[in-house]
């Protein structure tokens, strides 16, 4: 008996319209746990080498984790894995909300979408009843309009994930939306759903989750709940959520401003958490099983819209980075991205790049389709978001490809201010003067995303410009702990923000599954997954290596302007030195490739020898 898991994997062949169920493989779950880990394993073994991310060979793996849907704090997270249309490498996007629990209750540890449907469909799952239903009438609809419509048609108990027009139009960073404000945002997971013509997934489940030692699991879970509720900082965190970070970043020169030229924003105080809370927040909104809800559901009277957020990353990338200094304008840009199905971080990064091109005279008003693309022009931002989602006009179509491709096409030096790593737009931390955080972005396994290792507080604690091996060690430590949470199917923020002890996780997993796990065992599995995703890049990207871990030029060539980091930058040599420390400690060679000894140590040697 596979305790802690639903026991089945659902395979949906969209080309032929055939749905099959297979038992969840026990050996794979022992080695990769679930969610992110299962996705990485399935991507490696099932998607053939050289597959076109937008072709029929690519697949989308939609997976809850072992803790998902259980009584463990933050058990509301799931993973979407695919070959990224944005980067050409590994993509794993985490999403909160209610869907992960519902998939588990319906009886599935993963939903595999493969092939390409000949016509728009949505996947209907009601426990054991699984159907592909016609979605032609829904094609073109906005994400939340469709979620509402499906809930009205199927019932409130159904949990719905949708793509918006951006996913249909194959914008390379289209997201998947759920629960009126939760997204799997990064790497184009919504694009893959779009090319497969799957407009939505609707799930209802009524089954329980088998638990090996119910009494012990309940005891551990309730103790963890109590620890969260009694934590210092509970009140401030639940009042403001991730928006709390805005003022901290602004004061510490880490708030991306005008395309990451500055780390502080002269209108910053207008977009801080208290302004947000008092002006527009309606309700605290938690994901499944969350005692510490960071979700803030808001209503902007100015724009007459409802939106969950903005959360911090969106505030940075659609706010300060575009020089929008009105929280209601940022909320509007957020809501447009959600409804149209665009990742807010990549969208902000692309528009900021275009605004800088416009400012420098590289793009004129003819190329912008008449938009006055000045930093701070909210109306132009709203219009451009719509154009990107619909690939409308030359600029909308250009930016729909992502900032790396856009800069390659426009040239004229604009590559220098295309802020990305591996083709993924950087999320909202300025890294002119934060060498751990810069390394975290350089080495994150999806591209420049913060969630693998949020190391910036460590920079502040030990000296932000220091170049020392301890910083690489901290980045590696975080890259094992944080993605482990994505593998277990739970949220990391109870630990990160409320200091819930890491000592809860191994006992919870042991009681849940009946398999004895130590914390070190779990970290070892996380390291195995990290190296497998690295090997995926090696396998799929010709010439992959050190050069793909290069920092965005802005942080190593152009000093920051204004704020506490004024005049600061990280030297190119320092960035390379950080990489050297990192590779050595990881057991990778000087080109950033895992050595055979490392793969052997992690039990990956046999798996990676067979390249499908």
């Amino acid at each position: 008996m596979l305790y802690g898991y639903a026991g089945q994997i659902l395979r949906v062949d969209l080309t032929r319209g055939v749905i099959t169920k297979e038992p969840t493989p026990e050996r794979v779950m022992r080695n990769f746990l679930g969610a992110r880990g299962l996705g990485a394993y399935l991507l490696w073994t099932e998607v053939p080498h050289g597959a076109d991310p937008l072709g029929p060979q690519n697949k989308l793996f939609i997976s809850p984790g072992p803790l998902s849907g259980t009584l463990f704090p933050g058990a509301g997270k799931m993973d979407f894995t695919t070959k990224s249309p944005l980067t050409g490498g590994y993509a794993g996007a985490s999403m909160g909300g209610m869907l992960t629990a519902e998939i588990k209750y319906a009886g599935y540890d993963s939903i595999i979408l493969e092939g390409i449907s000949p016509r728009p469909v949505y996947l209907y799952i009601d426990d054991d009843t699984v159907e592909l239903r016609d979605a032609t009438p829904y094609w073109g609809m906005g994400s939340f309009a469709l979620e509402k419509r499906l809930k009205d048609e199927l019932g409130e108990e159904f949990q719905i994930a949708t793509i918006g027009p951006a996913g249909e139009n194959l914008v390379k960073y289209a997201c998947i939306n759920h629960d009126y404000g939760r997204q799997a945002g990064r790497g184009g997971v919504g694009t893959v759903m779009g090319v497969k013509k799957v407009k939505a997934i609707a799930v209802r489940g009524s089954k329980g989750i088998p638990i090996a030692d119910m009494d012990e699991f309940t005891r551990v879970a309730k103790a963890a709940y109590r620890a969260c509720k009694e934590a210092d900082g509970y009140e401030a965190w639940t009042r403001y959520g991730t928006m709390m970070v805005t003022s901290w970043c602004d004061e510490n020169g880490a708030l991306p401003t005008r395309n990451f030229r500055s780390g502080s924003f002269e209108q910053g105080a207008n977009i801080y958490a208290p302004v947000f809370r008092e002006k527009i927040v309606v309700t605290d909104k938690g994901c499944f099983g969350c005692p510490t809800p960071c979700g803030k559901y808001a209503h902007s009277k100015k724009h007459n819209i409802y939106v969950e957020g903005p959360e911090y990353e969106t505030n940075g990338m659609l706010g300060s980075d575009l020089a929008l200094g009105d929280i209601e304008d940022i909320a509007r840009a957020n809501q447009l991205c959600d409804e149209l199905g665009l990742d807010t971080i990549s969208t902000g990064g692309c528009i900021a790049w275009a605004m800088e091109c416009y400012e420098k005279g590289i793009l004129n008003q003819e190329q912008t389709g008449g938009l006055d693309l000045r930093f701070g022009n909210a109306q132009a931002v709203f219009a451009l978001i719509e154009r990107i989602a619909h690939r409308e006009g030359w600029l909308g179509n250009l930016l729909a490809e992502g900032v790396k491709q856009a800069a390659a096409q426009v040239g004229q030096g604009s590559e220098k201010w295309a802020i990305h790593v591996k083709g993924m737009e950087q999320s909202a931390y300025d890294t002119h003067s934060a060498t751990s955080m810069l390394l975290a972005y350089m080495t994150a396994d999806v591209g420049a995303h913060h969630n693998r290792a949020w190391a910036i507080t460590y920079d502040l604690a030990v000296g932000r410009d220091k170049v020392v091996p301890e910083k690489a060690a901290k980045v590696i430590e975080l890259q094992h702990i944080r993605p482990l949470m994505d593998t277990l199917g739970c949220c990391r923020l109870q630990w990160v923000e409320l200091g819930m002890s890491l000592d809860f996780y191994a006992p919870a997993m042991t009681a849940l599954t009946g398999v004895t796990y130590s914390w070190q065992d779990l970290l070892h599995i996380s390291e195995r997954i990290w190296n497998l995703t690295r090997m995926y890049w090696v396998r799929e990207v010709a010439g992959f290596g050190r050069v793909w871990d290069a920092p965005p030029p802005r942080f190593v060539e152009e000093p920051a302007v204004g704020g506490v980091t004024d005049g600061k930058l990280t030297s190119p040599e320092a960035a390379q030195q950080m990489l050297d420390y990192y590779y050595q400690q990881r057991g990778w060679d000087a080109n950033g490739i895992p050595t055979s000894e490392t793969l052997q140590r992690l039990g990956l040697a046999e798996l990676v020898r067979v390249m499908p």
Binding site: G69, L71, Y225, T238, D284, F288, P293
Partner: protein, 128 residues
């Protein structure tokens, strides 16, 4: 004694439902809880928590007398006496008597307090 809920504090996370199902059925399954959360989204963006007020209407209408009071004063349905006639379900003014196809009786809140323990924002409490 009864269970109270403050809708404005509820964040809709459903931990209460899981804790409830563990207590009532020894099962990790929020579809088997004795309270309900009704989300109102996308507008006005609020959660509505439905809980038993211990009004006693269920006991009044039960045709077979299967509904008793426990030592906390909570009404409960004795499983082996319930005939699944659904009278109490239809009559409950709060809509908080529940059934599922795989359970041979209906059930309601017994004031165990497990939901209160796990509610982060303190939206639930038991008082006179």
């Amino acid at each position: 004694m009864r269970l109270y809920a403050d809708n404005a504090k509820c964040s809709g996370c459903r931990a209460c439902l899981v804790a409830c199902s563990l207590h009532l059925f020894g099962e990790n399954n929020p579809k088997k809880a004795a309270l309900a959360i009704v989300p109102h989204f996308p507008a006005p963006g609020t959660f509505e928590v439905r809980v038993c007020t211990q009004c006693g209407r269920c006991a009044e209408v039960c045709p077979v007398g299967a509904i008793h009071q426990n030592d906390k004063g909570a009404y409960y349905i004795q499983p082996d006496e319930c005939t699944l006639c659904m009278t109490c379900v239809d009559e409950c003014p709060e809509g908080v008597i529940f059934s599922r196809p795989d359970v041979p009786y209906v059930w309601e809140c017994d004031l165990c307090g497990e939901c209160v323990d796990v509610c982060g924002p303190g939206a639930l409490w038991i008082a006179e």
